[in-house]
């Protein structure tokens, strides 16, 4: 086990982490500002990936595909908000869970109907494929490195947006006191649609970026959605900072656990049973992490009162 392998796996963990951040950021903003739990966020991730795969197929341009993923997911998000979601803000969480679960059924089966059950493939463009040499003698895929950089850039942009701009002030004010900012003349329903579309666009972009590494298929958003929930529970609902910390923590734990736990078990077990026991434990590791953090801080690392 060399340090190069460790560094490579840390980079892989970061890559998973920033993708989870793109998902979790939208979820946590929507919850923080509108008080809504949205299970259909994973469908927006899927919409982004399918839009990117379709546009890449027509035009051959990866950049256009990414733009398409942002646009399609934002449009789907805005539509979802206008037609369904805005009727749910004043409802209890049970209604929100059910209605957004219904949206998953509609989106998943609708996509299956349009594109069929077979996975689509989105290719990494030539200028981003191949390995790149990093200081310290590490060869790392350029595309994955690009994902990490895009993710970090978006995280920085999101912090600036929320800390420095007028929209950001309105979002923070909306989290603190909805009635008050409505009374101050901010068009609250427009703000809600905007926040929802922003979160949707980020999810769609994540879907497109990951779609080029994995395959683009119906239901691809759901495992990511559940990981994003774990991220939010760990980070604290409504906190962008918590989403970033939680996403990196989950990304690193999941990746490093999957690689190193079987090796750790091999130190004191037979190879075959070490591999299966290690894999079983690794698949549960992030949930154990979540349970441990809940025991210490029930409202997450950066959460206020739940």
């Amino acid at each position: 086990m060399t340090y190069i392998l460790v560094l490579e796996q840390i980079l892989n963990g970061l890559q998973l982490g920033v993708m989870l951040f793109l998902m979790a950021a939208g979820l946590t903003l929507v919850f923080g500002v509108m008080g809504l739990i949205n299970l259909a966020h994973g469908s927006l991730y899927m919409v982004g990936a399918f839009a990117a795969a379709a546009v890449a197929g027509w035009t051959g341009s990866f950049l256009l595909a990414l733009i398409a993923s942002l646009a399609a997911a934002a449009a789907a998000g805005a539509l979802m908000e206008l037609v369904v979601i805005r009727r749910l803000y004043r409802r209890d969480h049970l209604d929100q869970v059910l209605a957004t679960f219904a949206l998953i059924l509609i989106f998943s089966e609708g996509t299956r109907w349009l594109f069929g059950s077979f996975p689509l493939f989105l290719d990494v463009p030539a200028y981003l494929s191949g390995p790149v040499s990093l200081p310290g003698g590490i060869e790392y895929p350029l595309y994955r490195l690009t994902i990490i950089l895009i993710g970090l850039a978006i995280a920085a942009g999101l912090f600036l947006l929320i800390a420095k701009t007028r929209i950001g002030i309105q979002i923070r004010a909306g989290e603190a006191d909805r009635e008050m900012i409505a009374a101050l003349g901010v068009d609250i329903s427009k703000l809600y649609t905007l926040v929802f579309a922003l979160g949707a666009a980020l999810a769609g972009l994540a879907g497109a970026l990951v779609g080029a590494i994995q395959s683009v298929q119906v239901g691809m958003g759901e495992p990511v959605l559940i990981l994003a929930f774990v991220v939010i529970v760990i980070g604290g609902i409504g906190s962008i900072k918590g989403a970033l910390a939680g996403a990196l923590l989950v990304g690193l734990t999941d990746t490093l656990g999957g690689v190193f736990l079987p090796q750790l078990f091999a130190l004191f077990m037979e190879p075959a049973s070490a591999a299966s026991a290690g894999a079983s434990l690794a698949s549960m590791l992030i949930y154990i992490l979540m349970a441990a953090i809940l025991l210490v801080r029930p409202s997450g690392l950066y959460g206020g009162s739940a």
């Binding site: 969480h93 869970v97 929930f229 698949s283 025991l295």
Partner: protein
């Protein structure tokens, strides 16, 4: 006095008996199997409804208990059929193909899982509770996938349905009778539970936590007890469901299953004792009728669910029997 709702309840429970009996006399075993499936899924819903309707606990992780029940059946039966001892110590145990013992194991194991998951999840509330129950359910799902000793992703099949003393469980109508009697017992139990001091305190904790605390009860303990009972009943349904299919796989543990169990409760009407019966029957009916028309029938299910949530909050029973609640 019979209200419209209790009249409807009797009608439903009678219909669930008459349809398979008619199918039996017409020699239509497939319809008996559909009715059995409806009864078992309704049982899972009755379990969830104790947490959801009575306790107000929105658990999106009940597939965990459904799946644990299923795997309890699969593992015990697989060992019994292969003559491989499950364990040798402290006594030799070769698995079992006897339903009563399998049910007992399923109930105990899913109650234990509900105790652990509930004790952790109930430290939080609201949206955290939803996400955490979902996450723990998913944890077991991934564990089952990576657990290669019992089939991993492919699941675990058994060749023959397990036995019940004095009955031929391979005969569809006799297996239906087992599921139906258990469903009726569970409904009776749930009704008694809702009317008991415990049920009243639990409903009160849902409506006003502070007042329950002020009279000296601990909402956490009430909810944990409700969560354990709820998980145990759903686990029993899981064992029966696996026996119906003679197959258990990680799909039983997936969060779609949690969502579907919740749909049974909601289609029928939240907090209504017989809601899961109406919901599960409607679900099976839709699956059978719409599934025959289109492979994409779940789009229609999604639209229907959306319309019910947005515009008809009492569900099926609410639409027919009016807004009065069974308990609340």
């Amino acid at each position: 006095m019979m209200t419209r709702e209790s009249l409807l309840n009797w009608a439903m429970i009678a219909a669930l008996l008459i349809v398979p009996l008619a199918a039996w006399s017409l020699d239509e075993p497939f319809i008996i199997t559909l009715a059995t499936k409806a009864a078992i899924l309704a049982l899972a819903g009755v379990g969830l409804n104790i947490a959801l309707g009575l306790g107000g606990l929105i658990s999106l992780g009940h597939a965990a208990f459904f799946g644990i029940g299923g795997y309890a059946m699969g593992i015990l039966a697989a060992h019994a059929q292969n003559y491989e001892p499950l364990f040798n110590w402290p006594f030799l145990f070769e698995g079992s193909n006897q339903m009563p013992l399998i049910w007992l194991v399923a109930v105990v194991l899913s109650a234990l899982a509900a105790l652990v998951i509930g004790a952790l999840s109930l430290r939080t509330s609201g949206v955290y509770f939803i996400m955490i129950t979902l996450a723990f359910g998913q944890m077991l799902y991934y564990f089952a996938i990576s657990w290669s000793a019992y089939g991993g992703e492919d699941g675990l099949s058994i060749w023959v349905r397990n036995e019940f003393p004095g009955l031929n469980t391979l005969d569809p109508i006799q297996f239906f009778a087992i599921a139906y009697v258990i469903l009726c017992l569970a409904l009776f139990f749930a009704a008694r539970l809702a009317a008991s001091p415990f049920g009243l305190a639990l409903a009160a904790a849902r409506q006003n936590e502070d007042r329950v605390e002020a009279v000296g009860l601990t909402p956490f303990k009430l909810r944990l007890a409700a969560f354990v009972i709820s998980g145990a009943i759903t686990g029993l349904a899981g064992a029966l469901f696996a026996d119906l299919n003679r197959f258990v796989s990680p799909t039983m543990l997936s969060w779609h299953t949690s969502g579907e169990i919740m749909i049974f409760v909601i289609l029928g009407g939240v907090g209504r004792l017989y809601g899961p019966v109406a919901g599960a029957a409607l679900y099976i009916l839709l699956e059978h009728l719409l599934g025959g028309i289109s492979d994409y029938w779940q789009i229609f299910l999604g639209v229907l669910l959306l319309l019910i949530v947005l515009f008809a909050r009492g569900g099926l029973i609410g639409a027919i029997a009016g807004r009065e609640k069974a308990h609340g």
